[in-house]
């Protein structure tokens, strides 16, 4: 699944998600995993932040025969930030200070349409 960020024009930041979701059946909870690239506008450049996404998802009540929704809870871990003529920074686990800011939790809802 490819997800584009509709709010990029308000904050100068753009997230592109590429993730896969697997569940044993359409009504079951499942696992998701993927990658998120965030682009951040800076003065004279753009920084890219690359995140590994892991999470779980659960089905919500169907909105119609063709539309289903799913609630997901994600753990997003920033693996590397790069670009904008700044030194690249990779995540480290040498101490808590190295990764405390780089691990974030989030929630989102997906709305999926299928014509058949």
């Amino acid at each position: 699944m490819l997800v584009l960020d509709p709010m990029f024009w308000t904050d100068g930041q753009h997230d592109i998600d590429l993730f896969a979701f697997w569940a044993p059946c359409s009504k079951a909870w499942g696992l998701l995993g993927g990658w998120r690239t965030s682009t951040i506008d800076l003065l004279d450049g753009t920084q890219f932040q690359e995140k590994l996404i892991l999470g779980i998802g659960a089905p919500l009540p169907r909105l119609s025969e063709h539309i289903r929704t799913r609630f997901s809870f994600e753990l997003a871990t920033l693996i590397v930030k790069h670009g904008a003529d700044l030194p690249s920074e990779w995540i480290s686990f040498a101490s808590g200070r190295d990764f405390i800011d780089l691990v974030n939790f989030g929630m989102f809802v997906t709305v999926e349409y299928a014509s058949h």
């Binding site: 904050d11 951040i40 506008d41 920084q47 700044l86 030194p87 800011d101």
Partner: protein, 276 residues
């Protein structure tokens, strides 16, 4: 002017970008983020010297004082894990030299601030804290730093303020109690909201600071909820965010809460994001 024009201007005004002042976290804010360099003299020199477009990158710098309980020594250190043996007086001298030699100290108008944190534990084990005698020793040590900074500020005519910061209300109370009779430069008091229990046990309830005239509260932008924010803002204090490595979540929090200060380990990134 027509009402619709006024309404449009009002909408634009609401979209002002936040303009926090930049605080160099742990005297180490030149990229890439490297906490192993926190509270070291080389990182401090590099951070103080960092210029962007001909102006300093920062408005303030934070240094940590650590009272090593095993031999009652006052160190320039975040903790004992890095094996620092640098006396805090070396950091004070370095800052005094900067104050007396740098033509401009801050990126934005206003006094140059030195945030001087008093670490509340005295051993590698964070559960070991000061005895009453060690608290007095630590507090007298940081007032010594104040003297060095104040002398440099008065000599050079630079506008400088010193902020005493600690998770520990006992240490802040002793700072107040042992203040010298004359104060050549202003000082302020500051505490922290860090990572909540059970992940970290340093943060104290605000009730524990009753009677301490706090000027600033520092919080982590990814560990805050709106009720905390409203409670802190209702105190009328300045608010600083402290971060190591900024993510999109950090930037979103700065835009949402508009803190007075952003403490960062990435001064160039933060300045270039704020001034984009």
């Amino acid at each position: 002017m027509r009402a619709t024009n006024l309404a449009f201007l009002g909408l634009l005004g609401a979209c002002d970008r936040p303009t926090p002042r930049i605080l160099c976290h742990n005297a180490n804010c030149v990229e890439p983020t490297d906490p192993e360099g926190d509270d070291t003299l080389p990182a401090m020199r590099e951070s103080l010297g960092l210029m962007i477009d001909g102006k300093p990158a920062i408005d303030a710098i934070e240094i940590d004082s650590f009272w090593r309980g095993s031999d009652n020594t006052c160190l320039f250190a975040h903790d004992l894990l890095g094996g620092s043996t640098t006396p805090i007086t070396d950091a004070a001298t370095e800052l005094a030299n900067h104050i007396t030699t740098a033509p401009v100290l801050t990126r934005h108008p206003g006094p140059f601030r030195i945030f001087l944190e008093l670490k509340q534990y005295t051993d590698k084990n964070e559960s070991v804290t000061h005895t009453p005698e060690q608290r007095i020793g630590h507090v007298d040590c940081v007032w010594g730093v104040y003297d060095t900074i104040a002398n440099a500020a008065v000599t050079s005519g630079q506008d400088v303020e010193l902020v005493f910061a600690s998770f520990s209300p006992k240490l802040l109370r002793d700072v107040i109690a042992r203040a010298p009779a004359t104060l050549p430069i202003p000082y302020k008091l500051d505490t922290f909201f860090g990572i909540p229990k059970p992940l970290n046990g340093q943060t104290m309830p605000l009730d524990n600071f009753h009677g301490i005239p706090l000027d600033i509260i520092e919080i982590h932008p990814q560990w805050i909820h709106d009720a905390q924010w409203e409670g802190i803002r209702s105190l009328g204090v300045e608010v600083a965010f402290w971060t190591f490595s900024a993510t999109v979540e950090t930037f979103a929090a700065i835009e949402q809460y508009e803190p007075d200060w952003v403490g960062t380990s990435e001064a160039q990134l933060m300045v270039r994001w704020l001034e984009r």
